[in-house]
Amino acid sequence: MSTKGKVTGIVSNLVTVTVDGPVAENELCYITVGGSRLLAEVIKITGDKASVQVFESTRGLKNGDSVEFLGKMLEVTLGPGLLSGIYDGLQNNLTTMTGVFLKRGEYTDPLDRKALWAFTPLAKPGDKVIAADWLGEVKEGWLPHKIMVPFAFRGEYTVKSVAPAGNYTVDETIAVLTGKDGEDVPVTMTQKWPVKVAVKCYKEKPRPSRIMETGVRVIDTFNPIAEGGTGFIPGPFGCGKTVLQHAIAKQGDADVIVMAACGERANEVVEIFTEFPELVDPHTGRKLMERTTIICNTSNMPVAAREASVYTAMTICEYYRAMGLKCLLLADSTSRWAQALREMSNRMEELPGQDAFPVDLSAIISNFYARAGLVLLNNGQTGAVTFIGTVSPAGGNLKEPVTESTKKAARCFYALEQNRADQKRYPAVNPIDSYSKYLEYPEIQEFLREKISKDWVEKVLKAKNLVRRGREMADQINILGDDGVPMSYHETFWKSELIDFAFLQQDAFDAIDALCPLERQEYMLDMILKICDRHFEFDNFEQCRTLFKEMINTLRQMNYTEFKSPQFNEYEQQLAKHLA
């Protein structure tokens, strides 16, 4: 007998329900209003009153409307067919909904129950298995999608039978497991998992030891992010947060990409599902959409579902990670998620923390970031969830609760700067304030030495230092004037400009420049550092400026040209002439 209740208070999407039995924190319920059922989640309980946040508009809701509790938390459905899906924050399939407008109370199945999947068994009768062990696999697009022992299974099971190779729907039994108590449990290709609980079915979580290539120079070379690492991109509006994130989504070296459009613009999501089916994944040659799942809760969709959307996205990533895959989760923007928390906290009349955010904001954010990571699976293979979130600080001021809380949790910091954006120096990542803690990891340094070159880390640090010194010189020149400083100041300044224009800046809309593989990044950085190592003799600063501008122009033309093509080589020779 499930608990029932009646609505006794309404403020926007916060509804108070008087209940007739036990309810749990985060338990789901349906509120019936005018023939449709609205999903809601318990967020506070006082006596027999439960405060629930409704995932839909509460227009027309009345006191006395009936409520039915479901005895479970918000869950996602996991199984083959999630890739290339477009879901809302509660994992409703947006593509199978009818009508141009979203209908309140319309919930659609995330998986295609009729589709047949070609199953190949991996386990055999008699095998001892625990949660997340692989029983078989199906091909989802080109990815081997493992069918696993459901995450919720506790303890060891013995495989009693596994279905033979063949085509099955997600709901057909593909294995029977016997528990310690001798009871047989059928397993299908699908399982459910509560989104707010981290999936911990792995052996251990080692430190990340490889970097994830993104093709963006300022990230890969200057501030690399690790596979299984965390990073965040704060920046005022108009600084290119979304363009940078889309570039990472297009080019990131990952098997699975989940994009959580959390409280952002609907047209940005449209851009993804219009372009991604056409664009080609540079690493596999397949269409980008085949490896991408979109969780889309745009800013005009209900606020409570916005909060759920990031958790839904993370759970899907954790599911694919358990198959030994490299997943990348991009959330745009985590500030909107924090604001959703603030709206609810505010309506519940909780005592506010800084800027009216809930006081536990920092804990919630770091818990969420902690769900990313590299894991060692029970079978010895590895899987990773790399997480990059954007933050939209109010007024572009980084001293605000969401940015500060995130800074404590994330290991990479890509600070977008208004000043750079104003000068159209894109990506507007501030080269001095930004950092990657992974660059200090001995494991990562070792990896870079092997993958790129022996002295790579030293070169990167040197380039960073040149940029920093250039900035100091620029300050001096601004204070003392062009004629008031020695020629060497100009030279140092222009060397940093050379690095900025020819390396840090990158045209995300140019077919060639948008994606710069590590090999090319190494080649370009070497060439630039060689110029910077040289000591020049100038008669006046005009001469210095002219020469560097010409070199910058040539290097930029190279960036726009196919790597090592005849045209590219020609530009390289031009550059050599400048230096002769």
Partner: protein, 440 residues
Amino acid sequence: MATKAFQRTYTQLQAVTKATVTLNARSVANDELATVNGKLAQVVKTKGDAVTLQVFSGTEGIPTNAEVSFHGAPPTLHVSDQLSGRFFNAYGHPIDGGPEIEGEEREVGGPSVNPYKRRQPSELIPTGIAGIDLNNTLVSGQKIPFFADPDQPYNKVMADVALRADVDKIILGGMGLTNDDYLFFRHAFESAGALDKIVSFVNTTEEPPVERLLIPDMALAAAEYFAVDKNEKVLVLLTDMTLYADALSIVSNRMDQIPSKDSMPGSLYSDLAKIYEKAVQLPDGGSITIIAVTTLNDGDITHAIPDNTGYITEGQLFLRADPDSGKVIVDPFRSLSRLKQLVQGKKTREDHAQVMNAGVRLYADAQNAKTKLENGFDLSDYDLRCLDYAKEYATRLLSIDVNITVEQMLDTAWEIFAKYFSPAETGIKQVFVDKYWKKD
């Protein structure tokens, strides 16, 4: 609607604030409308039997024994082709002396478009203003505000843009318009002979501020009728959204909500997003484009209203007075159209994006030179050329009184580049330099 025949009436108020009244009433629906002492009100909160109503025209003169009757439905608008050419108040009633509209009654502030059913905006909206078309190209289905100080001529620019744009309907939502501005719009539309494609919803400064909260929903309900039902291209003008947000903060304050930044309600982002996200390119060809005005306090875009707006809208157009050229210009640094790359080089000439970027970069160099000049340093030859360039660039391209085609804008830009710079100094891709550089 069936419930209309039976209206529940109450006569005992428990509490009255400047914007809200509270009374005991049963089976009241959230968002439902009510009449309090002849004034329109809407349910915003229920707690047990206590119902709080926000009274749109203010609670002056409402006694505790006021008569309250509930309508059983949220705010609605009658929609039909009769809307064209008409002026309405915040409740959707005519203020031009004409008859009431006959047509289907629709709820305002309805549901959102399923993002999957949207189409990618791809049609250029030319305005003739180079600061917009060249540097911040507008696309149908886009939402973009003007950020301007109160002394900038934003309403005039907006009227120019609306009348030059190639759209089927223009819907004006005026919030806190001064009577003079209301008459300006009316005159501008009439004298352009465009009145039959314009629908206006107007709340002037003479009317109560809380009424403004209904204007965007009314205007967008009308826009959705033309865009969804009639597959028309609709342009919605909303001015001034800062006054709309101020009205939001009045209501939330009266309801004892904890204010967040700049004493705005914590839900400001969601409230604004609900309006702006109505901008859409629909699958059957209809579209809603929103151009809004957000007035600033001394150019401060870090205030909660412009800040939240900037995160929602697809860019912003920043107007400022330029002392060098003596013109009002569209600031190339602070302005941005996020959708511009969907049409630049696709619906316009191939060199568009590169010319735009070079133009702005050189203008930035001129600003640096200006700083040097102000600090009393000697200027280099390059600095001097930059300064001359900036003046001509501002006068011939950035100024809001420009009215030329995109092609002419590009040609003008190449001409100015060649006058002051070498190709290398512009940093433009060689193929375009070869093709378009104006040789003497």
